[in-house]
């Protein structure tokens, strides 16, 4: 568990740094790609229904976006991602089954 948290922290930290520093030079139609949201969505969609890595990634990804987004309230993205993750889980558990490979 600790190793997974550590890996997730490093991953989301690097993704956020790339997003704020490297990808800031590549706007497409005045929109900057958001790697963190992409990673959170991907983890939530690909993991097992009973897994909780999606929720964990939402909290860690949201935390880094809050730190580097300049918003006054730290926790805004954490809450948004948490609800997003719970919503995906709810949908996957009750209605939808994604066929992988």
């Amino acid at each position: 568990m600790i190793i997974i948290v550590f890996v997730a922290v490093i991953l989301f930290y690097i993704l956020t740094l790339i997003q704020t520093s490297f990808l800031a030079h590549f706007p497409s139609f005045s929109v900057f790609p958001n790697l963190t949201i992409f990673a959170v969505l991907l983890i939530n969609l690909l993991e097992k229904k009973q897994g909780y890595y999606g929720l964990l990634s939402s909290l860690i990804g949201g935390f880094f976006l809050d730190i580097f987004s300049g918003s006054m309230f730290v926790g805004f993205y954490m809450i948004i991602f948490l609800f997003l993750s719970l919503f995906i889980k709810f949908i996957l558990k009750s209605n939808v089954q994604i066929a992988m490979f």
Binding site: T20, S21, Y52, I67
Partner: protein, 274 residues
């Protein structure tokens, strides 16, 4: 990868409680500032590298995309050089005179203000703001205007941490300040006052210019002393588009910011604007 087993209701409640407590803790003003400063300080070397390599890569791809235009642009530039050479002879005397006057009046940027040089290390997510690597320990204060070495206005310092600061760009929606519109030919016969409003996504709008005033594409905007936010005489940008709606008494004007955020690596903070 082994999935974590489903937590029991008691653990769920504890988890929920700890998230709430964490959020409260993170939002305490002192803690929030310290955490942000810690992350920004640790990230500085990586961010600097990412920023400069991103800038280089963007220039590389821009060159490839604009490859066809380069030959035409080169021809135009050669013509422009010839024109400028002729003009250079004409302005030689004026330059000499200007130099003497500048010396007499002490008009240099460094004599007008106390400058703090800072490097741009990144851009904030979802807002028109940038990180710079100087903070309160270097003497940066909230509200200091940020400019380039060519006296082009970048924005103003919005948040100050120990080693970092957040500079709000002119295009941020909360930015409103007074400017003067100067004709493209540089004639100072009629200076038109107006208000610049940040429109987000690196766009600026010039407002409250009555339709009786003649505004053309290419006209420049410089800061005026009226608003008191920025010192007078800093270049903001040039008029990109002028539109008029019949029922409105004012022009709708879009401004092209003078500063290109993609090529911005260094800014100067004016700590004692006059």
């Amino acid at each position: 990868m082994k999935a974590i087993t489903k937590p029991r209701p008691k653990i769920k409640f504890r988890l929920f409680l700890s998230i709430i407590l964490l959020l409260i803790l993170l939002n305490l003003p002192f803690v929030s500032a310290k955490i942000k400063n810690l992350f920004y300080s640790v990230s500085l070397p990586l961010q600097k590298n990412f920023w400069s390599s991103g800038s280089d890569t963007a220039v590389f791809f821009k060159t490839i995309v604009n490859y066809k235009k380069l030959a035409e642009e080169n021809r135009n530039l050669e013509l422009k050089i010839k024109e400028l050479l002729l003009l250079n002879y004409e302005v030689f005397d004026l330059r000499k005179e200007n130099k003497i006057l500048r010396k007499a009046l002490d008009l240099g940027l460094e004599t007008e203000f106390q400058l703090i040089s800072a490097e741009v290390t990144g851009r904030y997510i979802n807002s028109d703001a940038i990180f710079i690597n100087k903070g309160s320990k270097s003497g940066v204060v909230k509200g200091s205007p940020a400019v380039t070495e060519e006296k082009m206005l970048v924005g103003k310092v919005n948040e100050v941490y120990d080693n970092f600061s957040k500079v709000l760009l002119l295009s941020d929606r909360s930015m409103v300040f007074n400017v003067e519109v100067v004709k493209a030919e540089g004639s100072f016969d009629e200076i038109v006052p107006g208000i610049i409003n940040g429109a987000g996504n690196f766009q600026l709008e010039l407002k409250l210019i009555p339709k009786e005033k003649e505004i053309e594409e290419g006209d420049s905007t410089i800061t005026s002393v009226l608003g008191g936010i920025f010192p007078k005489g800093l270049y903001v940008g040039s008029v990109k588009e002028v539109k008029g709606v019949d029922i409105e008494p004012f022009w709708q004007i879009k401004i092209q910011p003078g500063v290109d955020i993609n090529n911005l690596n260094k800014v100067f903070l004016l700590t004692n604007p006059q």
